[in-house]
Structures are given as C-alpha cells and as structure tokens.
C-alpha cells in the first residue's frame, strides 16, 4: 500500500513539469519501473485514478516501461541479468556486483496538450 505515497510523489513530479510547460492537460505519463522495485503498476493506477481527480492529469494514460534487473560485476566489469536474485557473476563467479538497472521508478516523459 506504499503505492499511495509513491503515486502522490509521482503526480507531484508530473504536475510540476506540466505547469512549468504551461500544459492545459496531461494526456499520458511515461514511466520506467524496474522489475526489482516493490511498486506495482496496478496499484499506482488505482491510486492515480483517485488522487488525480480535478487536476490537469486526470484521465492521463499511465505507461510503464519495465526494466530488467541488471548488475555490473565489480571483479571483471561484466554486466549481467540477475536471475532468481542470484547476484553472483555468471562469467567470473565474482560475488560483488552493483545494481545498474531494475531498481528505478522514474517519470521519463509526459505528453501534454
């Protein structure tokens, strides 16, 4: 249920950018959502429908582009897709890696009229 406050933050970002661009209406919101994020698109949609009422973003289409969980091995530098949350590098078996995508929740762009 943290999607309520997350959706409020998302709407805040959208409205700020919409107003800055003197939008009359926001018709679509394009987001990037990592598969490792705990945010559920369905819940975001549910709360968005409620909290966007009477704002210029009411009725906007929510589009989610999902990104895979990708890590970079700190030993050999290879990037690999993490399968079943095993962060061991498939190439060199290095155990230390850094997540480079799959955690994010970003508003990529908005469509306005």
């Amino acid at each position: 249920m943290h999607e309520m406050s997350v959706t409020e933050s998302m709407l805040g970002v959208v409205l700020r950018h919409a107003q800055r661009n003197r939008a009359g209406k926001v018709t679509a919101i394009n987001m990037v959502l990592g598969e490792f994020s705990t945010v559920m698109p369905e819940s975001v949609q549910f709360y968005f429908d409620i909290i966007s009422k009477d704002t210029i973003a009411e009725g906007a289409d929510l589009n989610f582009r999902r990104t895979k969980l990708i890590a970079k091995c700190e030993t050999c530098g290879d990037e690999f897709e993490v399968v079943e949350y095993d962060f061991t590098c498939p190439g060199c078996k290095g155990e230390k890696s850094e997540i480079i995508s799959g955690r994010e929740f970003q508003v990529e762009s908005i469509e306005i009229s």
């Binding site: 943290h2 661009n21 705990t38 061991t88």
Partner: protein
Amino acid sequence: MEIEVLEGVFDANEIIARENRALLDELGAFMLNLMASPGAGKTSFIMKTLEGVAGDLQVAVIEGDIAGKVDSERIAATGVPAIQINTGGSCHLEAKQVNTALNRLDLEGAQLVIVENVGNLVCPAEFKLGEDLKVMILSVAEGHDKPIKYPLMFSESDVLIVNKIDLIPHTDFDMEVLEGTVRKMNPSVEIFKISCRTGEGLGAWTEWLKERVKASG
C-alpha cells in the same frame, strides 16, 4: 507534445535523506534503520541493544508505527531519549518524518540514533532515511524462505539479525538454506543469530555495533 522529465519518483525523499545525513554528520551521530515484519522483535531487540551498549554509547531512539505510543514509552522508561512517529496508516517511514523527529529529539551528545521502521518487509526498503546502516530482523517463526519472497529488503540490508533462535528446535527452520539464499543476494551482509529471550548471540552483535559506530566517528 511530449516533454522529457527524467525525474525519479524517490528523488524528493533522497534529497531529504541527504539532509538528514548532513545533520547527523554535524552531530557526529551514527544512524541505524531497523526494519522487520510486525512481531519479529524489533522493540525487544532495541531494548537489548540499549543494554548492551549502555556506558559505551549515548543513544536516542525514533519509533515509527502506524498508530500508538507503546514502543516509545517502553524505550523512554529506560531513560533513553525516544520519540514516536505515527505514520497514520502509511506502511513505512520517509526521510521527511525522520527529519522532523531528528529536529525534535534532544541529540546533544548522541552517538547512535536507532530508527525503528514500521513493521513491514516491503516498502521500508525503498525509502532511504539518511542512515549509516540498514539492519533487518528475521525471526525464526517467519520461516527461512522469506528472502525469496521479499528480495529487495534482504538484498538492501547491511546486517541481517536472525532472532528467536531459541525456537529453532520447535520449527522446520533451516539456517543453512537461509544463509545460502541471502548470501547469493547480498554477499557482503553481516549475519548475527540471536535470541532476545535467552540473550544468546547479543554480545557479538553489540560489540560489532560499538566498533562500527566508533570507526565512523
């Protein structure tokens, strides 16, 4: 017309988390973000930690709960400064609430601030508070399969406390399976096996914590 935004939804929280960090650095205090399911033993663990570091570290506690003051009253009864944040239905703490609490607490001389997050294995992992250390508790009765179900928190935590180990003989809990799963997700995690009820393993944890806090100061 399409407008490029490229702004993270958690950015606003992370800016305040960095402010918290700066405030703590100024005070020379170390902050621990404690996360776990409801009933894993967070408050008992804090009480035992307070006993273990008494005389060595000056501590303050921030208690996050959806409602009620039970936890902060329990802590305050020991003489340790404690403040309660009621999230009013929200399932996690955000940096802003911790910022308000940090400004209200008497932090004069505090070396360690323990933040007890709302009982939940999901969302607290998404929100940075400005902490030095993310510590999570898994209690034996919850089962060794929890990392597979809640991977984000297990992969984000610096320390995993396995609590209620005195219950192991009464359950099917498999410590080896748990450790194997967690280490694949998070090879650098520190694991402490404890029982708040019997006191087992608590000494190793509090000694480690004291070292960490002192090393950061």
